[in-house]
Structures are given as structure tokens and as C-alpha cells.
Symmetry: C2
Subunit: 228 residues, 2 copies
Amino acid sequence: MKEIDFSGCPIMSSLSGERIKNLFEDIEFKINTYKKGDIVARQGSPCKYLNILLAGSVKTEMVAENGSVMTIENITAVRPLASAFLFAENNIFPVDVIATDFCRIISIPRDEVLKMFQKDAGFLESYIKYNSNKTQFLSTRLQTLNIKTIKGKLAFYILEGLNKNLVLNPGTNKFRMDRNQTELAKYFGVSRPALARCISEMEEENIILIEHKEVKVINRAALQNLLG
Amino acid sequence: MKEIDFSGCPIMSSLSGERIKNLFEDIEFKINTYKKGDIVARQGSPCKYLNILLAGSVKTEMVAENGSVMTIENITAVRPLASAFLFAENNIFPVDVIATDFCRIISIPRDEVLKMFQKDAGFLESYIKYNSNKTQFLSTRLQTLNIKTIKGKLAFYILEGLNKNLVLNPGTNKFRMDRNQTELAKYFGVSRPALARCISEMEEENIILIEHKEVKVINRAALQNLLG
DNA sequence: ATATTTGTGTAACAATTATGACAGATTAAT
DNA sequence: ATTAATCTGTCATAATTGTTACACAAATAT
């Protein structure tokens, strides 16, 4: 177990190295690797293992029948993948999971995870907490999609980004986006030119200023108004 | 504890009456009642209790700043409310919870729930399973919203309803909607007239036939095509 | 350094949906 | 049975967004 590094993994972080070592004693698992573009899991396929991304990064996408794609999430190591679906009634992947980098993924069978719960209550608590956070994430995504206009979605995204940055950097009116315009359009589920148009208009209206991925908020109140 | 009936509650169903009685021994809780229209919990308020709807029904809504509302879910007793948010990092209600009927709700403090986990592993498993199912539900909602056109949303909704009905009623091409047109429009996050127009058009195109809440599918393949 | 790929700004036009409004149908209440 | 409330079908108009297309900028690879 020495060669597996779980540091930074939300469902392991509360546990010491010694405790993790103990946790994995007599537990079956396997480790697979994937290269960029590989499909790690397909939307609709059964989820029988607790999969933890040990190295690299993946994206999750939802694919409609006509092929239109919406990116749900970008995940970087170390994080569990679709952990909420392991114990669900209908345990199928809700999304495609695609490697965006070279990846190393550990897979622990469902029953072995149950053993681990029994072995260490702290692990169990972390697991519940992580899944709860996950649900909140989905809820926020729903909130984003609930906003009808593209300007509103963008305003929500920027205000959210500003808030996150505020913790590290109080009183700032700037933040750096983690997506380019094309990715952002996908994230919102809108067309790229439409997003570009909205950005242009909001810059003309002196609400924001975007340079590359750097966003500067000029009129915060106007952003708030766009949410509705 | 005799007066509390948890039968049908997803996080209690696997437990016998005797076991539930044992589970609640030395556990603090309170029971409140609400009448139709009462706000049970406000979007943004902290979630410190495991709330279980013992009797009646509630709806959960997301409210944007301008007052536009999207119904997320209708919940009928016996079910937990926002159970996924009890153990999350940021434990705030993501939605308004509003009584749609006379309601009785039991509230168990977070720490007491932890005690209950320790006491009964079966309860814990049910809890995890329920939250997992919840996540799946949100994921499906996201999928619905991912579909851009109203006709597509409607097609998805109808095909889903047909599938659910298929279990009880194999080979059928009919099902009964659980929402009226106004509620359906809210559920989709679209305007009511736009939905009505789409229904009209789909009836003219001989794809479906809707009478009151009874939906008859005439051209299933056409419905599938609308998903994209 | 140059070529190739990827990302961005913009435009005209088409398609879809929201808005607000109204009449008729249905359901619930008394 | 009658009234009141809610739901449904429909319309014209406005607003928003998608589509397709193209030129240019930026990043990456060779």
C-alpha cells in the first residue's frame, strides 16, 4: 500500500497513513491506467467499484441521443469517481467519464468498501460527507441551469468565482476562470457564439472586463440584477 | 415511539418496528406540524436536523432573485427532507420547502443521527443508499434540463413515464401524468403557453394524444427522435 | 521560425421561446 | 345547481438564442 498516495482525497483525508494502511489490509482492489481521450466509464454502464482517481484528470459529460454534449464536471486527482452511484438502487454511471490526461485509477469492489466501512467509522463519515457535498454540487448545477438567460448564467458563474476567490483574496474584484470560452459555453449548455455575444455586450455595458481568462468585475450590482 | 409510523420511509424501511424502537431509545427529537402553504424551510437556511416528513406532502422550489420559480420535486410522506445536506460541508437548504398539505415532520439533531448510525449499521446503509438514489434523481433532473427544446423535454418526460408504467402494465402505450400543464411547465422551467403550443403541435403531428392527464403515445419512434 | 491547431470576435438570418392577453373549458366549493 | 377558481388553447409580438460562416489572434508543435 505504500505506493498509493491518497493525500488530498476527500474520502481519505481525515485518515492517517497508518490508518489507511490498516484500512486496506485484506482488501481486494485493482489499479488501471488510461491515456488522454480514453473512456474510463460509459454513461449507462454499471458502477460496481469505488473508483478513485489517483493521478491525472478526467471530465464527465452527458451525451444526448443526437450527440450534443454537456460537460458536467472536470475532476483532477486525487478524487473518487461517481462514488454516489456505488450504493444506489440503479447503480449505473449517469455520465461518460473521459480521461483528459494520463490517469491512474484504483477500483475497489462494492463489498470490499462495505468491509472498510465496518473497519473504520472515520472513513464512513468522510464518505457520507463527500457524497453530501456531491449532491450540493449537482444542486448548484441545477441552479445554474435554472437561470434562463446566458447573461444570467455568466453573472452567476462570475459571482460564484469571485466569492471563492474572496476567501484567499479579500476585497478583490478579479478572478481567473478555470475554463476557456468554448468550455464555458458547454458548461452552460449554450452555443459558443451566443456566449461571446453576451460577453461583448456586458463589456460594452461596463459590467465586466474579460481578458483571456482574467475576469474583472466593474459593476457588481448589475451582475446581481442579471441573476433574475 | 409507538405513535410514529415510519412504514414506507426509505431510510427506515429495512428495519423492523422493534429495531426502530431500539434505534430511537435515548435519542432527542421534536415533531412539528405545518398547514398548507407554510414554509417548512427556506432556501439558504442552515440544515441542522434530519427532517422526516411523517404525514402530508411538500414541494421543493428554487427561487431566482426576480421571483421566477422552478419546482424541483414533490414529496409525499413518509420521506426524509434534504437528508443529503445534513452532513455536507456547507449545510444549507438548496431549496424552499413548502407544505402542500397538512404536514407532520420529525426533526432529529445531527449529532443524534450520528449516534443512531453507531447503534444500527442497517440504518446507516439505508441512509447511504437513499442519498445515493437522491443524487441519481438530481442527475436525471440535470438530464431533463440538458435537453434544449420543450418538445424534447416533453418526449423525455413521456418516455420516462411510460417506462415506469411498463413495470405494472406491460405493453401499454398510455400513462397518467402526475402534474397538470402549469406544473409541468414549471418542472421544465419553460412558459406555460409555450408548452401548450408544443403539445398541440405534437398532437397534430400524430405523435401523442393528451386528454386531461392521460397521455397516449402514438408514434414512439418520433418521441425518441425529439430527445436530441 | 513557421505551420498547425485551437480559441476568439463578429455578423446575418432562422428558429425557438417568453410575454401578455383573452375566451372557453374544467374542476372545486358552496 | 350555480358560482368561483383554476386550467387549457390560442394568438401576436418581442426577446433571446442557435446556426453557419468567416477572419483574425493565440497557443502549440515541428
